[in-house]
Subunit: 285 residues, 2 copies
Amino acid sequence: MSEAVLHEVHLIGCGLIGTSMALDLRAKDVKVTLEDSVSTNLAEAIKLGAGSTEAQDSPDLVIVAVPPSAVSEVVIAALEKYPEALVIDVASVKTPIFDALDAAKIDLTRFISTHPMAGKELTGPENANAGLFKNKVWAVIKEQNQTPALVLELIHLLGAKPVHLSAIEHDKAVALTSHTPQLLASVLASLIAEADEAELCLSGQGLLDMVRIAGSDSKLWSDIVMLNTANIVAHITALQAKLTNLVEILESSETSTTKDELITLIEQGNSGLAKLKQIQDRNLS
Amino acid sequence: MSEAVLHEVHLIGCGLIGTSMALDLRAKDVKVTLEDSVSTNLAEAIKLGAGSTEAQDSPDLVIVAVPPSAVSEVVIAALEKYPEALVIDVASVKTPIFDALDAAKIDLTRFISTHPMAGKELTGPENANAGLFKNKVWAVIKEQNQTPALVLELIHLLGAKPVHLSAIEHDKAVALTSHTPQLLASVLASLIAEADEAELCLSGQGLLDMVRIAGSDSKLWSDIVMLNTANIVAHITALQAKLTNLVEILESSETSTTKDELITLIEQGNSGLAKLKQIQDRNLS
């Protein structure tokens, strides 16, 4: 691994994630060339100093940072256009990408699928920043036997920590920890959208934190969610069962039982939060 | 109002909220005497410099900062023991307190019910801090024609902003913006508690923010929730209907409709978040 050195990276897709990666790489003196089908995104990324559009010599690494539903097509084109380069993607859903590449009978030797667990509720290059990946987990899909050193170098260079898992494991995990919470935040925020202003006059930081990610981009997130529906529906169904049980507890006339069962629920939540914090701390230690 | 001056405050209940208020008042050179039925809480609050237990001369103001289900009883005793003082409470639920005081035929002339919209997922005097109420909204229940100047002085002294509303309006508002989100965070965190560790390895800040308040104290929160069940059940039922609709959208075989409806949901969430931020900004401007 010590021999791999990133010299030149070609970025396809100058959104929040791609541009943030490019800014980090530029700060580490890696040459970055940029490409985006949306000319305003490309212009903004160049303005920010994320790289240039000059002809690539021969990139070591091509980063495909386009919306999930476009990834497989762009990866196939990149593997063909850059026959010497490794190609990675950074999409939030994995199984459908591998399905599409398998269906197209693509040799996956030079393709590594990855997903940095970093983001914002804001999108576009104008919200990008270097440092976005520092101390974040970065999923690497282990369809290959070994992750190429160059990919690990990229992740380390950006201050992130690689976590290796399969595409199926990845999609199950993000359904629980990212996609379902995202939709739940949207549902809660849509209840706020319908509420009278008088009902909102006493809101504080707790609610704001819970709906922060409801500010996310609707086109990007509908794209992500549609590629992982079965896993998400399983979690929403589990949530619904818990909410139905909660309503039964609240409507029970046995107040001492209600109190005990509410305490049990809140303590389960205490445990869940403690478990989450412990895993996050351990992942990043 | 300019003539009212807080000289001496007696605090009953040295938990997070009460002790934080006392620390703020001490920093402004207001004399504070302390009382708590739990001796360890009292000792901790004294150690932190929140006040003393020396005999009160004649407090201008008595602050009742005990758990909601104990408030009415403590308020009745305080009104009797301190016949010259104003008595306020700071509980998270209002209607049951007024119901109990009305049932006991208490003269409410010297009682003002209030609720600072500040807190933490942590409890107890050991987590208290001065400044907790700075730039926070502070509900004042307008059962009286006019809020006494001393109460407004207290709120301003602690850097908060008073919002006047009725007990019924208060309980409806906090059901939506505090109690339902609190339970939703617990429900989501309880799903995490049941999950395999492998499913949690990719979690990030978004999920952590959504479940932060799931760390709240189970005894305090079961107490609060049980005093506002009808309002809470109405919101949970509305959430359930939205989740049922979401599952139908996700399971639909018409992908173009699914995409459109997901975009609509996420955009409703965008609007809800924007509305919430706007109201919070306006409240505190």
